[in-house]
């Protein structure tokens, strides 16, 4: 198989214009005759469903929560990037493009990233018009801050609740279309399989989570915006319900899965406190603007932080990276935290933590200013840990946060199955091997508001759609397959809970395919995952029945898919004999411990195709070309 990314020819600045001009349009009067399915109501799905409804398409939108407003996007704190250059500090579309390609460690597709940077400015305008209460200056203009190590201030924010406010904007736009009758919102309903007929994606099979009923939904195209798969690690900063099921079922129906091993570990999360721990809480990265990160110089130092004198502290990021200091990118900050903890210099009960200290910042700008900047984060920290970060340094540790990998899509955001489009965190497209802070919200909204409304139209205008209904034999066989899996999960009645399997799986993936990986470790992990998966299918217990709300059953289906994904992640990580971005293979590092890329051999997107149970998946490579930003070793020294 060869992959055609459909990148428009000509200069990159004109690519998106050219692509839009080349697209066929759907006659306005015909739009309502086309039905579209949008799975997911986060920033990507919510924005897509609303915009497609506005154009007049007949849209059905699904989410598994009770309301579209609760999608995981709601939890994003820090902000959203845009190349507005309001602060006049050297920002431009080109710079945002450049930083994103470089930050992604040269494993993203240039044309997509350029388009993202171009569109970023329109996103802010759209959100302002919707009433998103972005932070403002006294004079009434929009405020920006520098975020996640960027050297320009390009991040827009709404207190520490940017994701919430952007999502509510999209949700409200969506509800407006529900009122207008263009969108039907179907909450508490989980997509469990994709219907592909004559090579085209034509619908989904979904389970009503309240009644257990399976239902068939047919459409002319299916748009997945189902988020990332960080929960494969069990403990992550993702919402508990975030899962890979929709993407995974699409993969098993023929869509390629790209770069599954590219996962991001966020450096500033509250450390694990016990076995019961159900998720990890992110402390916004903006804290690194003022906080200084350190550990004791001495191993196993048990003194409380205020008893450790200045010259016995190691501000390791400032020491190793004098020009970026505490603001190095996420992957670098995370890896360094792991390294000092592995040396036995970690802090807190578990030894898995480093200090993030605001003492100097408070002395410099005063407690009041720090409270204004981070008050809600400090409160949240105190609520969880019972420690006052104005007095005692915070303890932080890296945690899984975001997945750059996802279903492969071309420039049109179409997967390898015609008519199946993938948006937001669920696709692999724009962040390469490492995502920069405040860029996921930007990508989700770019895909949903400004890309898909064009590209789906082109698909509809250039294809024919046979009439299909639920009695079609292919539809029937998909429904039967879904029913069979559900029945199977309910009938095992073994001894172990779904969560206990998930926790054990997560630990394997974290240990072997987390912050540092080796070929041998990955081999071990694959063996362990297979063995555990086998036990799962013999010994899991799912109480209750399939005909009412059954949260154990929901979890069991998701964990079953995580098992298969986990194996693919390890296969992908093992295949990539280099270190890049979030993928750090211990065998490939520079003498001073930095990631060593191998552009000669690995400058490609690894797209995996399903070949049936028990068979090794097939690897197809999409070579990456860098015509604008020339690959160099990232240096933050």
């Amino acid at each position: 198989m060869t992959l055609d990314a459909k990148i428009p020819s000509g200069p990159i600045e004109l690519a998106w214009d050219k692509a839009r001009f080349d697209m066929k349009l759907v006659n306005p009067a015909n739009k309502r005759k086309h039905s579209l399915i949008v799975v997911g109501s986060g920033l990507a799905g919510g924005a897509a469903a609303a915009s497609l409804g506005e154009l007049g398409y007949n849209v059905k939108c699904f989410c598994f929560q009770d309301s579209p407003r609760r999608a995981h996007s709601i939890a994003a704190q820090g902000g959203i990037n845009a190349a507005k250059n309001y602060p006049n500090d050297g920002e431009s579309i080109y710079r945002l493009f450049y930083d994103t390609v470089k930050g992604g460690d040269f494993r993203a597709r240039e044309a997509n990233v350029y388009r993202l940077a171009q569109i970023s400015v329109h996103i802010i305008d759209q959100c302002v018009a919707q009433g998103v209460p972005f932070a403002r200056e006294y004079g009434g203009t929009l405020t920006n801050r520098s975020f996640g190590g960027a050297q320009v201030s390009r991040t827009f924010y709404a207190r520490g609740q940017t994701g919430q406010q952007l999502l509510l904007g999209a949700y409200q736009a969506l509800e407006r279309q529900v009122r207008a009758g263009t969108v039907t919102m179907i909450p508490r309903t989980e997509m469990l399989d994709l219907i592909v007929i004559d090579g085209q994606a034509r619908g989904i099979v979904a389970r009503n989570l309240v009644t257990g009923e399976l239902s068939v939904h047919i459409a002319d195209a299916v748009i997945l915006a189902t988020g990332g798969y960080g929960n494969v690690y069990y403990l992550s900063t993702n919402a508990k319900g975030s899962n890979v099921t929709a993407s995974w079922r699409a993969y098993k129906r023929g869509a390629l899965f790209a770069n599954p091993c590219f996962t991001q570990i966020h450096p500033t999360c509250i450390p694990v406190s016990g076995d019961y721990q159900s998720k990890l809480t992110l402390m916004s990265e903006s804290l690194r603007n003022d906080g200084r990160i350190w550990v004791p110089k001495m191993k196993g130092d048990q003194r409380s932080p205020d008893q450790i004198p200045e010259d016995e502290r190691d501000y390791y990021l400032e020491r190793r990276y004098p020009s970026f200091g505490n603001l190095v990118p996420r992957d670098v900050a995370s890896r360094n935290a792991k390294a000092v903890c592995d040396e036995g210099r970690g802090v807190g009960k578990s030894g898995l933590g480093v200090y993030l200290d605001f003492f100097d910042a408070i002395a410099r700008v005063g407690e009041k200013t720090i409270r204004e900047r981070y008050g809600n984060l400090f409160d949240m920290y105190q609520r969880i840990t019972d420690e006052d970060p104005y007095k005692v340094p915070m303890r932080i540790y890296p945690a899984i946060h975001y997945t750059m990998g996802g279903l492969w899509v071309d420039y049109q955001l179409q997967s390898t199955i015609p008519g199946l489009f993938v948006l937001g965190e669920a696709n692999f497209s724009d962040h390469g091997a490492n995502r920069l802070g405040a860029s996921a919200l930007m990508q989700g909204l770019s895909d949903g508001y400004f890309v898909i409304p064009y590209t789906v139209g082109n698909y509809l205008a250039t294809n024919k759609f046979k009439k299909v209904d639920a009695s079609h034999s292919e539809v029937q066989s998909v429904v039967a397959a879904v029913q069979q899996t559900t029945d199977k999960l309910l009938s095992i009645r073994g001894k172990r809970t779904v969560d206990s399997f998930h926790r054990e799986l997560g630990k394997i993936v974290w240990d072997y395919c987390g912050m540092a990986r080796t070929a041998q470790g990955l081999e071990t992990a694959i063996g362990k995952i297979r063995a555990l998966r086998e036990e799962f299918w013999q010994n899991v217990t799912v109480p209750g029945s399939g005909d009412d709300l059954n949260q154990s059953l929901e979890k069991a289906g998701r964990v079953a898919d995580f098992f298969e994904l986990a194996e693919l992640m390890c296969i992908d990580a093992r295949e990539r004999n280099e270190s890049c971005g979030g993928h750090f293979r211990e065998e490939y590092q520079t003498p001073d411990g930095e990631a060593q890329r191998d552009d000669e051999r690995y400058s490609y997107v690894a797209a995996w195709g399903y070949r049936g149970p028990g068979n090794t998946p097939e690897l197809t490579k999409e070579p990456l070309e860098f015509n604008y930003v020339h690959p160099s070793q990232r240096s933050y020294k």
Binding site: S67, I74, A129, R159, A173, M185, R188, E213, Y276
Partner: protein, 266 residues
């Protein structure tokens, strides 16, 4: 610590519910209320019993999924805290906690601690937005919004739609929720053109649902995890009055409350 949890169990909305008591040993003061339920659920599952159904997703106090009454208080004893962020250190060894779902006619029961809050979505659907389609927006800085105004709008916009306000209100009114959205949008210049229409339609929908009427008791703001101020209700009333006075057009019909969960919607 050891706690007794007296929990409302109800299989479906058709079944009758009842309280069942469970003891949970080894409660760690650091765990959250939901993690304590996780621990209980693991035990129940291992015994082959159905775990307690409760709603949750972000577990960071922002998605608004979680929420139930703890000893008669929505989201429990801590101010400005959802149950997912409520740590067990606020309780004492040996204590009994009574957990029950939000009780309101407008929130029909689904199972155990889970209720149907779609009435909130219908209130938003009836006008809780600014009518601007994708692509129509002018440059963000052409709309100037003073810092105080933006902050005030943000205070109202912080609502997470959890439903605690309704559960706490002796009348089961949705005034704080509806007022928060009306205030968020009508404070901002972008929201002004539709201010009257929005207030009329949202209030009409709120009245069409099975919520009670607000009598200014203020329990709602007391339990609100985001501390939405009571003033938003005043804003709603003012906007509604103003709009009714000026009313020039007929109201569109309200949306009929739906309580069924049929899957085969086409």
């Amino acid at each position: 610590m050891k706690l007794t949890l007296k929990i409302w169990r109800q299989k479906t909305h058709k079944d009758k519910g009842a309280f069942v008591s469970y003891t949970v040993d080894h409660v760690d003061p650091e765990m959250s209320m939901l993690e304590c339920l996780d621990v209980l659920n693991e035990t129940l599952t291992e015994r082959g019993e159905e775990p307690v159904a409760f709603e949750h997703d972000c577990r960071e106090g922002i998605c608004g999924s979680c929420g139930f009454m703890i000893n008669g208080v929505a989201h429990g004893p801590e101010r400005a805290t959802t149950v997912c962020q409520l740590t067990m250190r606020h309780f004492n060894d040996g204590q009994e906690l009574v957990l029950e779902p939000w009780r309101a006619k407008a929130f029909p029961a689904i199972k155990d601690l889970v209720v149907d809050r779609r009435s909130f979505d219908r209130i938003i659907e009836s006008g809780g937005y600014i009518s601007v389609s994708t692509g129509q927006a002018p440059d963000g800085n052409t709309i100037l919004v003073g810092k105080e105004t933006a902050d005030q709008a943000m205070d109202a916009a912080a609502c997470i739609g959890c439903g605690a306000c309704v559960a706490a209100c002796p009348n089961a009114a949705a005034a704080l929720f509806t007022g928060a959205k009306i205030a968020h949008l009508s404070i901002l210049p972008q929201g002004k053109p539709e201010r009257d229409r929005r207030a009329l339609h949202m209030v009409a929908q709120m009245n069409a649902e099975l919520f009670g009427n607000c009598t200014n008791i203020g329990e709602c703001t007391g339990v609100c995890p985001k501390e939405i101020p009571l003033e938003v209700i005043a804003t709603m009333n003012r906007d509604y009055l103003r709009a009714s006075w000026k009313k020039r057009e007929d109201l569109e019909a309200t949306i009929p409350p739906a309580t069924e969960w049929s899957a085969n919607r086409t």
